[in-house]
Symmetry: C2
Subunit: 177 residues, 2 copies
DNA sequence: TCAATTTTAGAATGTATAGTCTAGAACTAT
DNA sequence: ATAGTTCTAGACTATACATTCTAAAATTGA
């Protein structure tokens, strides 16, 4: 939900959520029980919808470097777009840390999905001889996921497109060797 | 302050802050005026003390790759340490985004200090011929700062030392070419 | 010593907001 | 149509917490 993304769990009031969704407060309680449960649903759904483009790009049948570049471009564009409010998964990780196991588990799940998409793409690139066999796809996938989290963090404050693109260009070099 | 780091601004109550610092509530108000002002001081002081080791490491007179490796090692150790609660600058960036200009300015300042430390170290490495002249020290410095932010984010949730070290090892490769 | 100042503990105030309750309106199915 | 159900608006309750107030205790300075 847009409100959770912009304001975080704590600061998002039920009235704001109600107004933003057009669902009256009583119905929110009827459907979800309480604010936290609503948040868990919103967070999980966010994870599935928001990262689909990335999983699709990395899954495409084409040279893996093209896929990676597409994702890096998408990130550079996305995080520097005016009005970008960060990533709900990253934001929630910070807001809840490990104080809420369910929130943490959902964040882990989606982070894992992203890492897996990179890992599979890189492994495929190795098989096809597009990437050096010496590359550790797990480590590189973790690296790229971490890169995205850093960008999402900086993007929440506001980051210039050029700066984001520079960072991505540097990161891309880890696959060049 | 430890309390702001662990719980964030919103969730940290004056009573907790009072207890943690050993300063009675009324004195906090007398000294700082209000909670936000106290937070601004704490955040700024945190930035100066917490990153000093990094600036020192990068400023040392030795091969620049050694300095960079020292920082990456420090990060891998630090963020995976049990009880690591993230970085107050990163956390605050997420909690306040750009809703509080003063908070954002303090975060920018300290992030800039980190980028500058990397930039200077890399520039020195280029001068000495330790690094390729083709390297863009600004972009690489931004890249490493971003890396640290990503690690701090993941560390707040809890990250295995090995995973953090793998990510750092991959990142180090951007200077290898 | 003792008046002036500062510090302290805890009560009081005000506000925000999560969650519940109520009574009426709208809808559904027979 | 009408009994039963669901939805809605808004009042109500309970709680948490920032901030202020108060009066007693501790400290200071002449």
């Amino acid at each position: 939900m847009v409100v959770f993304l912009a304001r975080g769990f704590e600061r998002a009031s039920i009235d704001e959520l109600s107004e933003a969704t057009g669902v009256v407060r009583q119905s929110l309680y009827h459907t979800f029980g309480d604010k936290r449960t609503l948040f868990l649903k919103a967070l999980d759904q966010y994870g599935y919808t928001r990262f689909q483009w990335l999983i699709d790009e990395l899954g495409r049948d084409r040279p893996v470097m093209e896929s990676i570049r597409a994702v890096l471009n998408g990130w550079a564009d996305g995080v520097s777009k005016s009005g970008f409010k960060g990533c709900l998964v990253c934001n929630s990780l910070i807001e809840f840390a490990d104080q809420d196991k369910e929130v943490a588990a959902i964040c882990d799940k989606h982070n894992g999905r992203i890492e897996k998409a990179f890992r599979d793409a890189i492994a495929r690139g190795k098989e096809r001889g597009e990437l050096a066999a010496s590359i550790d796809e797990r480590a590189v996938a973790e690296f790229f996921a971490n890169l995205g989290q850093g960008l999402a963090l900086q993007g929440r404050r506001g980051i210039q497109r050029q700066k984001a693109a520079e960072i991505c260009a540097v990161a891309e070099a880890v696959l060049a060797g």
